[in-house]
Amino acid sequence: MRRAILAVIATAAGLVALLSFKTHSAERTVATPEPSASLPPGERSITGDVANTAYGPVQVQVVVATSKIVKVNVLEQPSSTEHDLQIGQFAFPKLISETLSMQSARIDSVSGATYTSGGYIKSLQSALDNGA
């Protein structure tokens, strides 16, 4: 029994030591949303729901000017592992530019193979639908 208690304490202490060494740098990237008041007239921001993905929460804010998306801010993205940052650096700019090109075609709807859900896409969908 005494050995068991010792093992638990030693493990917990080890965990605390390892984790505290890694707590120095910035946390997961949380950008502050642009409040509507600070935007030029005619533009307003719509914040999508937080979508919980396997690697952390993702939240997107869309800035709309007379029904046209002019900017996409990624408010929350997982960034605590190297993998998360890789995804963030690669995927989000690509997705943002894709969104704008889709938007610039001034379409009303998209026909494609049936979707279920996915973190970012779901968030964009909800932002568009929320913007109506």
Partner: protein, 435 residues
């Protein structure tokens, strides 16, 4: 002498592996923050250590000959049992901190987060089944529960650990943060599992089958030594290649319809020749009775030799201290040792003494001394193997190398008495028979 990996070397290697695992976590984590981050980080570390420890436990039981020779089967079994309890703790801690950590990060409650993890995260359901399997095996291995079932039942239930390891493997790569982004990490982790798996197959399947065909073990004959003790003579060919040393044991599987599915460790009770080996089994149960009825010619699957309990030549006088069935390996040692040897053979009644004529003959031929200490404590009016008594039976005890074998209670008190009599700990060698 065959290559042997000592306990210190083995522990160092295991520790080095654990450090490497922690380095893996270190490299794959950039920062940790917030309660959710801390919990998830703890969960990742615990998970990595658990995945590593589980394969170490398998390695300990893989019957790798150099390790068995250097560390000893009894010590390996004890390490495995202790490690098993710790690993179950690691896995449970991993599961709980991950659930809690994910729940905090996603701003949901742990119950719904558990449901999310089980239904949407790949392979987590299988890993959870694996967790419960291991909890079950751990429960069944607890001494209180193990006593209620036969050894064979417990042994076969224990095989579910392999299933648990297989079930849990995929979730490590599918969801483990240290692995999803690193092909190198996945490669080395897979290599670790593959190598240990191969060692298990090699030493537990390939080598015994090879030995069976090469040496053609068969029962040569059976002799009743005493009411409860029977010696089994096993014949074969090229037995010298096995390089069995006095004090070592084999794991014996007698290939009859009733006995083929059981494997038991018994020490050689005589120095083996190139064609013949002898084991001596004491017992009152069905198994010993069945052994007494073994027909000559019965095929035997003999796995071994195992055991670190062998005499080390130091030039010192030697004391062999046997309690009850512990005489078996010491009888082999008694015949093989040169120099000044004293044998003290403790038993409760004269009925339990075996090999008396052999021991007396060896003693006379080699000029060695045998002391039979027979009787209950009441008859002796105290412990007949106290420090004082031992000093009288073996003068100059504190300068001797002592080899001790017997039931756990007897070995425990004997070690204490020997230490009290001035024998340094490093010169007391013993093997504890409780597996």
């Amino acid at each position: 002498m065959a290559t042997a990996v000592g306990p210190r070397a083995l522990l160092t290697a295991i520790a080095a592996g654990a450090v490497a695992v922690l380095v893996l976590w270190w490299h794959s984590t950039l920062s940790v923050s917030g309660l959710g981050g801390w919990l998830t980080g703890a969960g990742e570390i615990l998970g990595l250590l658990a995945g590593y420890s589980v394969i170490v436990l398998v390695l300990l039981m893989a019957r790798i000959r150099p390790i068995e020779r250097g560390v000893g089967a009894d010590r390996l079994a004890r390490w495995h049992a202790m490690g098993g309890r710790y690993v179950i703790g690691l896995i449970s801690g991993h599961a709980l901190t991950i659930i809690w950590g994910y729940a905090v990060t996603a701003h949901t409650n742990p119950v719904s987060e558990t449901a999310t993890l089980l239904t949407t995260y790949p392979d987590v359901l299988m890993a959870t089944v694996a967790w419960f399997l291991l909890l079950g095996v751990g429960l069944v291995s607890a001494r209180a529960v193990r006593r209620t079932m036969s050894y064979e039942t417990w042994y076969y239930l224990h095989f579910y650990t392999y299933l648990a390891i297989a079930l849990a493997f995929s979730h490590q790569f599918a969801v483990g943060a240290a692995f999803t982004g690193s092909l190198v990490a996945r490669f080395w982790w897979s290599a670790l599992y593959l190598i240990v798996g191969s060692l298990v197959v090699w030493y537990r399947v390939v080598v015994p089958l090879h030995d069976l065909t090469r040496h053609q073990f068969r029962v040569a004959g059976v002799r009743q030594e005493s009411p409860h003790t029977v010696s089994i003579y096993v014949q074969g060919r090229y037995l010298k290649e096995l390089a069995a040393e006095p004090g070592q044991f084999f794991r014996w599987r007698f290939l009859t319809r009733d006995l083929w599915w059981q494997s038991h460790p018994y020490s050689l009770s005589a120095v083996p020749s190139d064609e013949l080996m002898r084991i001596t089994v004491q017992g009152i149960g069905d198994h010993s009775a069945a052994l007494a009825r073994l027909a000559p010619g019965t095929r035997v699957l003999a796995e071994g030799p195992f055991g670190a309990f062998t005499p080390v030549r130091t030039g010192r006088s030697i004391l062999l201290l046997a309690g009850g069935v512990g005489i078996t390996p010491l009888r082999a040692m008694f015949a093989a040792l040169s120099g000044t040897v004293t044998l003290i053979y403790r038993a409760s009644t004269w009925q339990d003494i075996v090999f008396q004529s052999e021991l007396d003959a060896i003693a006379e031929a080699r000029g060695a001394i045998v002391h039979y200490v027979v009787g209950s404590r009441q008859e002796f009016g105290g412990d007949p193997l106290s420090a004082t008594a031992l000093r009288q039976l073996a003068p100059g005890l504190h300068r001797m190398d002592v080899y001790l074998c017997g039931p756990p209670g007897m070995t425990g008190s004997a070690v204490a008495a020997l230490t009290q009599a001035g024998v340094p700990r490093r010169r007391i060698h013993y093997e504890s028979f409780e597996f």
